[in-house]
Each structure stands twice: as C-alpha cells, then as structure tokens.
Amino acid sequence: MRVGLFIPCYVDALYPQVGVATYRLLRKLKLNVVYPERQTCCGQPMANGGFERMSEHLAERFEDKFRDFDYVVTPSVSCAAFVRVNYPQILDHACQTPEKTMELVEFLHDILKVRELPGSFPHVVSVHNSCHGVRELGLSSPSELQIKPFNKIVDLLRLKDGITVKEPDRKDECCGFGGMFAVEEPYVSSRMGNDKVKAHMATGAEIVTGSDCSCLMHMQGVAARQKYPVKFMHVAEILAAGL
C-alpha cells in the first residue's frame, strides 16, 4: 500500500512535530509512506472565506501530486474534509483524490483497522471533536443525529496504556475557529473558544487533544491569552508516544 502524506501548510509552519508523529506512526505500521515535495495548501482557507475560485489551482495541483497513491493521509480533519467534500465541485473534471484522501484517525481506524498500539500515555486527556470530523468525515456520531454513538478518536486513544480519555460537556459544539471566521467575527469566535476550553478543563484533563491542529491552535491561543493551565496535543503525537 502506497500512502501519500499530506502535511497542510499551517501544520508545516506551526506544528512540524505533528507531521513527524504522523510519519513515524505510519512507518511503524509498515506502510510505504511518501511525502511528495513542494506541497503547500489544499485551498480550504480561501474557499471557506468565500473565494473558492482562488482554490481551483491548488486543487488541481493537489490532484496532480496525489492522484497516483492508494491513499492520501493527512493529520488534519478540515483539510481532508475539504478535499473529499468540496473538490468534486471545484474541479470541473473527474478526480481521484476526494475518495482517496483520509484523515489520519479514520485511516488508522477504518482502513488499517488498528486494534493495538504499543507505548503508554499516562495522562488525562479531553477529546476535541472537530466539526468537520464529526459532521463531514464521520469520526464520531454527531450529537444531533439519533444514531448509535461512536467515536473513532476515543477508540484509538484507548489503545494507549495508562491513558484516561474524557469528553467535554457539549461534546461536539464548535470551538469557534472556522478559518477566516476567526478574523471576521473575532468576538464571537474567541467567546466560543473560551467556552470550549473551559468545558475541556472542566473534565479535569491536563491535555486537550484532537485531530485538527487548527481548532487546537485557536483554543491554544485563547487559553494562553486567559493563562489557563492546560496543554494541547494532536492525536498523532499521543498515538506515536513511546513507539
């Protein structure tokens, strides 16, 4: 199985350790992982802001770069969702990456069906269920829907020895990042972020974890501003701990 690794722009710039953890994890699972050079952004930020036309060229480039892999894996929920849900409308031709692109957790859970992971992580963590993971990728059952509850992030985290996994009250309410929403509606956005971080802290967790660095970045910025004693880690970092 040949896997193309997509490390989105902001993960590349701000959270390289998440890229490293993802790569290590996939290699540990004996996959042929390729990180194609000269990759940048999937085009999501412009499109969510209302400028989808500015994403077309990036979507074409993404399709070119990744179309020949069996799977494209990325440690970012909203980027994976953007490729899967929006590319078919943006690209005016048949494309292959929408169905091949997977967010790390769903790839591990659904494709590789990982049921054990070495290494321990003796900490209390609170899971952040990012909206596009919940409602576009199906990483967990949306709280609005009357379906059997499940949570793939929780399933994977529980494979680590010594971990205590919590979920906040209002478990899949938005943290208020929303890409350009955060700069266009900064007051509502930071209020949502503050409420969300407090809900995570109320679980007693030391660490907030999720599979989207952009939600984590937003909450981290809010928490630092408020001087809250809580840490943020991507799921990949926890899953790769002690490998």
Binding site: C9, R61, C131, E185
Partner: protein
C-alpha cells in the same frame, strides 16, 4: 474586516458575562430538550428523511397542491386570496377588515405578517392590532422585534417583563415577577381583547391540500381564542406551507415541536377548515418571492423549512450573538439564508455569522442544510460586490504564497522570527486575531525542511 453581524455581535458581547452565558444556556437547554425528545423516537432519522422528501415533492409540485388546497377550501365556503407580495397581502388583509368595519384585530403568532409589515400597515389605518401570543404581546408592548421565530421574547428576563407589566398596569402586585403570576396577568389582560375584537388572524403551520385544513400549532391556545369570538377569521399563509395530506401532516407534526421546543406535541393543534355558522373565513396565500426560490437551484431547499427554530437553538454563533445581531427579521442559520434570498446586497453582512460547524444541517428536521448553503452564499458575495475587501486581500495573499513554492519555502523557513514580535506589538486593531488570542508560535524549522534534512541524513548514512 467588520460585517454587519460582527459589529452587532461585538455590542451584544459587551453585556455582562452572566447575561451572555444565560442567553447561550437558555437556547442550549432547548437543544438538549430537543435531543431528549428525538431520542425517544427510534424512527427519528427516518422521519427527517421523509419530511425532506415530502417537502421536496411538494415544492416541485407546488401549483398542483395549491390548486387542490384552494379547491377544498372553497368547497368549505372559505374565501381564498392570492397575494404576490407583501404590499398586496397588506392591501387584501386591510380590504377584508375594512369591509367588515373591523376596529380591533387579535392575532395569534405569524412570522409572515412580520415579514410583510402588516401590523404597522393596519395601525396606520386606524385598526387596533393586538398580538395574543405571550411573547409577541410582550414585544409589542415594549416596541421590540422578535429575536427568535419560536420563542420571540425569551431573551428578556422576567424582571424586564415584570417591570413593563407594572408600568402598563397589567400586573398589580409590584415586585412580583414570578413567571406564573405574570402569565396570569397577561391572560386576564388579553381576555377582554379576545372578547371585543372584531376579527381574528392566525398564521398557518401546515395547509393540508387533500382536505383544505389550515393547521395551527400553539402552546397557549391563543389561535383558538382569536377565532372563537370574532365572526371573522383571516389566515395568513406562505405558499410553501401547503403539504399533500394527513399522512404527511403526521410526519411534520411529530417533528415540529420536538425539534422546536422538545415537546412531543404543542399543547394545541387546531385544524381550521370552515367558518362557524354566521361567520366568515378567509385564507390569504402569500408568494412574496417564494415561487422565485423554487427556481433557485442552489437554495430552493430553504422552502422545505417548517420554522421550528432548531437551527437557531443549536447555532453556537446565534447563542452568543443574539437575534438582534442579524439584519433580517428571521435570525440564525435559516435567517441568513432567507435574508440573502430576499435582498442579497442588503443582507450580505449576515453571511459571516457562521463557523461552518454544520450542526444546523444535522439538527434540521427537514434537512434544509442551512450551514452548507451559507458556504455557497459566501461564494456568491463577489457577484453582488459585497465581499469583505480585507478578507479578499488576505485570501489573495495566501493564494499567491501557496501557489509559489519558493516563496512559501522561504517564508516558512524564516517565519520563526515572528515569534520574537512582542505580544504588545501584535495587539493592534489591524490584527483581529489578537482580540482573543495570543499569536501562534512558528516552528524553528517547518516540517518540509525537517523531512528533507532527515532524508539526506539517512542517505548519507548518518
């Protein structure tokens, strides 16, 4: 960077902390009641799918169902009118009232009359209009607009209502702001209006084509009160409220109040089919842009909306910015959509009020997908010339960097110097991020540089 909604939201968020939290919690608790009510029906998701399909079917066969509905109404002696827009609706309503020499009109809740501005139109012409839904009555007395479509006055506190009632002489016990007492006072006060009104007007939640029933759901019984004494009943109804038959009514009835308030059914569900002996019943079917929406390929699904308000209750932005932060009389996710359909240039400032969390898409009983549609509205703002210019500059900047790899590479390799910018310098009005956040810290080396280095070290056998 500021849109209409973001500016109004900023004002709302200046309220005391506990007031904002209470607003948020009030609507969230309605969402929780909705969840509990939905969870009791194993067929819930099936019902939503059915509701969506019935509406899609009806909207695409609207003319046929309207004809059937009208025929059945007329068979029962009801007088049917068609109004192409708000102006015509107001004129028809006034015409009927004038013919009957009506001086006082009692109304049960109708957002359509709000849409058409009927109350001021009638009052300017000397008709006393009395709202009889408690929330609407409170707002009318306070000269305020609804802040929510189902619970229009829930943003007010009992003290605010109590003080107003004292001022107006509606409540006698000064300082008694117990909701049950205040409701009792309102009921006593409204009773005489019900008794001496010359006409009653209701909205219509569902118009059943097969039978000609106008179905009105209320919790206060005020639709029945409004129509029991007066000899004239006028129903104000949007075209899209027509549904095929009782079987489809059963689907919507199970969804409406469970979604809206978490109740298994509203306290009263009234079927108005014909006038009482010696009385008259009129139905005014209002288009006001609705038939245009049927032809709008990107947004026709808004016509499936049954106005339960669930999208507002679940919307994290609505709960933290309030109903008055939107420029349209219907707020929240569905309101953003309806306002754009009404007048996109005027209401583009609401389109920012969405983090694209899509909770509304999942909560909506008729699968209107308001959130997904807001994404599409954003794409169209440039065609109206109402896109946010600063945001556009940002997007163009990002596009330029992402499309030019050498620039991207150079920027990322050097971006960590930005970490040395003191927080105080970053806190400027030009940097909206700094309003609620500290700046993120750039890595000393980006991932792509680390990867390249590691691969070279491997190759060199290190």
């Amino acid at each position: 960077m500021s849109t209409y909604h973001s500016k109004r939201a900023k004002e709302f968020l200046k309220n005391p902390e506990e007031k904002i939290s209470r607003h948020d919690q009030t609507f969230w608790s309605v969402r929780q009641k909705r969840d509990a009510a939905a969870a009791q029906l194993p067929e819930w998701e099936n019902l939503r799918e059915q509701a969506s399909r019935i509406k899609a079917h009806t909207v695409t066969h609207l003319a046929d169902y309207l004809e059937q509905f009208t025929t059945n109404l007329e068979k029962n002696g009801v007088i049917v009118h068609f109004a192409k827009d708000a102006q015509e609706f107001n004129e028809i309503a006034y015409g009927i009232l004038e013919t009957h020499k009506v001086r006082k009109l009692v109304k049960s809740k109708s957002m359509l009359t709000e849409e058409c501005g009927l109350n001021p139109y009638l009052m300017e012409r000397g008709i006393d209009v009395v709202e009889s839904d408690l929330g609407e009555r409170i707002l009318q007395l306070m000269h305020l607009k609804p802040a929510h479509i189902v619970m229009p006055a829930i943003h007010l506190t009992r003290d605010e209502v109590g003080e107003m009632f004292e001022e107006k002489g509606i409540s006698k016990e000064i300082g008694n702001h117990d909701p049950t007492y205040l409701t009792y006072c309102a009921r006593q006060n409204l009773r005489k209006d019900f008794m001496d009104a010359d006409a009653g007007m209701t909205g219509c939640n569902f118009g059943v084509a097969a039978t000609g029933d106008c179905v009105v759901c209320t919790n206060e019984g005020n639709a029945d009160m409004s129509t029991s004494v007066p000899k004239l009943h006028i129903v104000a109804m949007g075209l899209e409220k027509v549904i095929p038959d009782y079987a489809s009514l059963a689907v919507f009835h199970r969804l409406l109040s469970r979604s809206g308030t978490g109740q298994p059914a509203t306290s009263f569900t009234s079927h108005f089919r014909r006038a009482r002996p010696g009385a008259e019943m009129h139905v005014i079917l209002v288009d006001n842009g609705r038939s245009d929406i049927t032809a709008n390929t990107a947004h026709w699904e808004t016509l499936k909306c049954i106005r339960c308000g669930a999208c507002m209750n679940t919307c994290p932005v609505y709960r933290r910015s309030g109903g008055y932060s939107y420029s349209y009389f219907i707020p929240g996710p569905i309101g953003v959509n309806l306002s754009m359909l009404k007048d996109p240039k005027k209401h583009s400032g609401n389109v920012s009020a969405c983090s694209l969390c899509l909770s509304c898409d999942c909560v909506c009983p008729a699968k209107v997908t308001p959130g997904s549609q807001i994404y599409r509205w954003r794409q169209s703002l440039e065609t109206y010339g109402t896109e946010n210019k600063e945001k556009k500059v940002m997007a163009e900047g990002m596009k330029a960097v992402y499309e030019n790899y050498p620039v991207y590479d150079a920027l990322l390799r050097n971006s960590s110097v930005a970490n040395y910018i003191p927080e105080a310098w970053a806190d400027t009005s030009l940097n909206p991020w700094s309003i609620g956040h500290t700046m993120p810290r750039f890595a000393r080396k980006p991932f792509h540089a680390l990867f390249k280095q590691a691969m070279e070290e491997l190759k060199n056998g290190k």
